[in-house]
C-alpha cells in the first residue's frame, strides 16, 4: 500500500507499528534543532478544499521537521476559483514534481479518486463524512499514553456521529486495537445503519459515562447539517454536552479528547476544556508526530512503502547493504 486513505486499510499490526515508531518522531521536536534530514528533496503538496487550521498546519510542520518541502494549495486563492476541476488541479501540481499529496475535501472518496490520477502518495486529511485516518491514529496514540494498551477499554464517542469522519475513523482504529466503543448521540445524529458498526449504541449520555475509560467528544458540525436534526443547541448541550457536572462525575483519571475546533458551550461546557484530563493540546502535539511517522513510512522507509515491511528478528551486519 502506497497511500493512506482509510483507517480500514490498516491492520491492527500496522496501527501498532505506527504507534511504536511515533515516539521517535515526537523526540525530534524536543531537540535543540528540531529538524532531521530524513525526507530531504521530497515535496509534499497540501491540497485543502475545506477549511482547516490544525490539520493543515500539523501536516506542514510534520513535513518540515523531516526536511520535506511543502506546497500549500490554498483553494480560495487558486485557479479552483476559476472553475478548474479537481483532476486538472491534481495533474498540475503533480507536474511540478511532488511526492505526496495531503488532501481534504468535502466529498467522500476524493482521495481514492486522486490515487487514480497521480503517481504521488495520497494521504487523506479528511473526506466528507467518510474518513480522517491520521486523526484516529493520533487519538489512539494520545489515549495509549494515558491508558496503556486499549484492549478491553471502554471508549465513549459522543456527539454528531452521523456527520463525523473522525467518529468513523476512531471506531475503526479503537476496535482494531481491542477497545470497546460506545456511541452516544440523539437518534437523528446516529449514522444510517448503526447496527452494522462494531459498537454499542446509547442515547443516554450519563448512563454511558458511568463505565467510560475515555471520552471522545465530536464537534457539532453545523456546516454539514442541512436539516433540523437538533431542535435546539441549548437542549443538545444539556442532554449531550460534557457539562462541568458530568466531567466531575467522570473523575480526573478519565481522559477527554476533542478533535477541535471546539464549540464551547455546545458539546463541551465553556470551562471544561481547562481541566487537566482534557487532552486537546496533547492531541495537537501528538498529531505532528503521528503525521511525521505516516509521511516517513510512505516516503522514506523504502520500496516496501506502507505499511512497514514484513519484519523479521535478526542480527545486524552493521550497515545492511
Amino acid at each position: 500500500m502506497n497511500h493512506l486513505l482509510s483507517i480500514d486499510d490498516l491492520t491492527a499490526a500496522d496501527i501498532r507499528e505506527i504507534l511504536r515508531i511515533t515516539p521517535s518522531f515526537a523526540e525530534v521536536a524536543e531537540r535543540r534543532i528540531s529538524k532531521v534530514p530524513a525526507l530531504r528533496g521530497q515535496t509534499v503538496a497540501l491540497l485543502f478544499y475545506e477549511d482547516s487550521t490544525r490539520t493543515r498546519l500539523s501536516f506542514e510542520v510534520a513535513a518540515k521537521r523531516l526536511s520535506a518541502d511543502t506546497l500549500n494549495v490554498s483553494v480560495s486563492t487558486s485557479s479552483v476559483n476559476k472553475g478548474e476541476s479537481l483532476r486538472d488541479t491534481a495533474e498540475t501540481i503533480e507536474a511540478m514534481g511532488i511526492d505526496a499529496v495531503v488532501v481534504r475535501h468535502r466529498s467522500s472518496g476524493v482521495p481514492m479518486q486522486l490515487t487514480k490520477w497521480v503517481d504521488a502518495a495520497v494521504i487523506n486529511a479528511g473526506d466528507g463524512w467518510h474518513q480522517h485516518p491520521t486523526q484516529a491514529l493520533l487519538d489512539c496514540f494520545t489515549l495509549e499514553q494515558q491508558l496503556g494498551d486499549l484492549t478491553g477499554r471502554n471508549i465513549v464517542i459522543v456527539g454528531d456521529i452521523r456527520h463525523s469522519r473522525v467518529a468513523r475513523s476512531d471506531v475503526g482504529a479503537f476496535t482494531r486495537l481491542g477497545a470497546e466503543v460506545t456511541l452516544v448521540a440523539p437518534p437523528t445524529l446516529l449514522p444510517a445503519a448503526p447496527d452494522t458498526w462494531p459498537v454499542r449504541i446509547e442515547t443516554n449520555l450519563d448512563r454511558a459515562l458511568q463505565r467510560a475509560d475515555a471520552v471522545c467528544l465530536l464537534r457539532m458540525q453545523r456546516e454539514r447539517q442541512h436539516e433540523a436534526l437538533v431542535p435546539d443547541l441549548r437542549e443538545y448541550a444539556t442532554l449531550y454536552g460534557l457539562t462541568a457536572q458530568r466531567a466531575a462525575a467522570l473523575g480526573p483519571d478519565v481522559p477527554i479528547l476533542h478533535p477541535g475546533p471546539m464549540n464551547r458551550g455546545v458539546e463541551i461546557a465553556a470551562d471544561v476544556p481547562d481541566l487537566d484530563q482534557v487532552l486537546v493540546v496533547d492531541q495537537v502535539r501528538n498529531g505532528v508526530a503521528v503525521r511525521m511517522a505516516v509521511l516517513f513510512l510512505l516516503l522514506g522507509s523504502g520500496a516496501a512503502g506502507m505499511p512497514a515491511p514484513a519484519l523479521v528478528d535478526d542480527v545486524e551486519t552493521e550497515d545492511a547493504r
Binding site: 523526540e27 535543540r32 528540531s34 532531521v36 522507509s301 516496501a304 535478526d314 542480527v315 545486524e316 552493521e318
Partner: protein, 188 residues
C-alpha cells in the same frame, strides 16, 4: 545489533548463523575494562565526558562501559542513546525504521562525546550519528568506541577505542552480545 533489531524481510534481512566464537564473555569484559582505561587516559578523567550508545547495538556496550568507568573512577558519566534512522544516507533505498527514541538529556555543547557501537563496518551508521549529534549542540570532540572493528570502511571514519580488530569478508556477519562475539553469515 540488536538481537531483536528489526530488519526488512529478504533481501535485506535473514537469520544469523554462527560459524565461530571469536570472543567469550570474559574476553569481552576485559576488553571493555581496557577501553574504559583508555578513555580515562586519553581524556584525563571524565570531565565533560558523555557516553552515547547507538541504537540498538551500542546500547548494551555503552551501559557496560559506563559501569566500568564508574568502577575505576568512582563517578558515573551521563549516558544517552541516539537512533540514526532519520539521518541515514540510504533512506528510500532500503526499509529504514526508527528503533527507539533518541535519548540525550544533556546539552552537548562543549562536551566530549564517546559514541559507542557494537560493530564498525562501512562507517555509514557513524556518519549518520555524527550528523544526529549536531541537533543537540556542538561537542568539543567526538570519539568512537566499538566492540569490533571488522574493516571495509566506505567513509573516512576510524575508531578511537576498539574491543577487537576482526578481519572479515564482506559477505560475513558479526554478532555482538555481552556473552559472545561471533562471526558467521546471514541466511535467508
Amino acid at each position: 545489533m540488536g538481537e531483536r533489531e528489526r530488519r526488512g524481510a529478504p533481501p535485506y534481512g535473514g537469520t544469523f548463523v554462527s560459524r565461530a566464537v571469536v570472543m567469550d564473555a570474559d574476553q569481552i569484559r576485559r576488553a571493555i575494562k581496557r577501553m574504559a582505561h583508555e578513555i580515562l587516559e586519553s581524556n584525563r578523567g571524565l570531565d565533560d565526558v558523555v557516553i552515547i550508545g547507538l541504537q540498538t547495538g551500542g546500547i548494551e556496550p555503552a551501559l557496560h562501559l559506563v559501569e566500568a568507568l564508574e568502577t575505576i573512577e568512582g563517578s558515573r558519566p551521563p549516558l544517552g542513546s541516539v537512533d540514526v534512522a532519520f539521518h541515514r544516507d540510504d533512506i528510500g533505498l532500503r526499509p529504514v525504521l526508527p528503533e527507539a527514541p533518541t535519548d540525550i538529556n544533556v546539552d552537548l555543547h562543549g562536551c566530549t562525546v564517546i559514541l559507542v557501537d557494537d560493530v564498525l563496518f562501512t562507517g555509514r551508521t557513524v556518519r549518520a550519528a555524527l550528523d544526529a549529534l549536531n541537533d543537540f549542540g556542538r561537542p568539543r570532540s567526538v570519539q568512537l568506541a566499538v566492540m569490533v572493528d571488522r574493516g571495509h570502511r566506505e567513509l573516512p571514519i576510524r575508531a578511537d577505542f576498539v574491543g577487537k580488530n576482526l578481519p572479515t569478508a564482506r559477505s560475513e556477519a558479526v554478532r555482538v552480545t555481552m556473552s559472545a562475539v561471533e562471526i558467521g553469515s546471514m541466511q535467508k
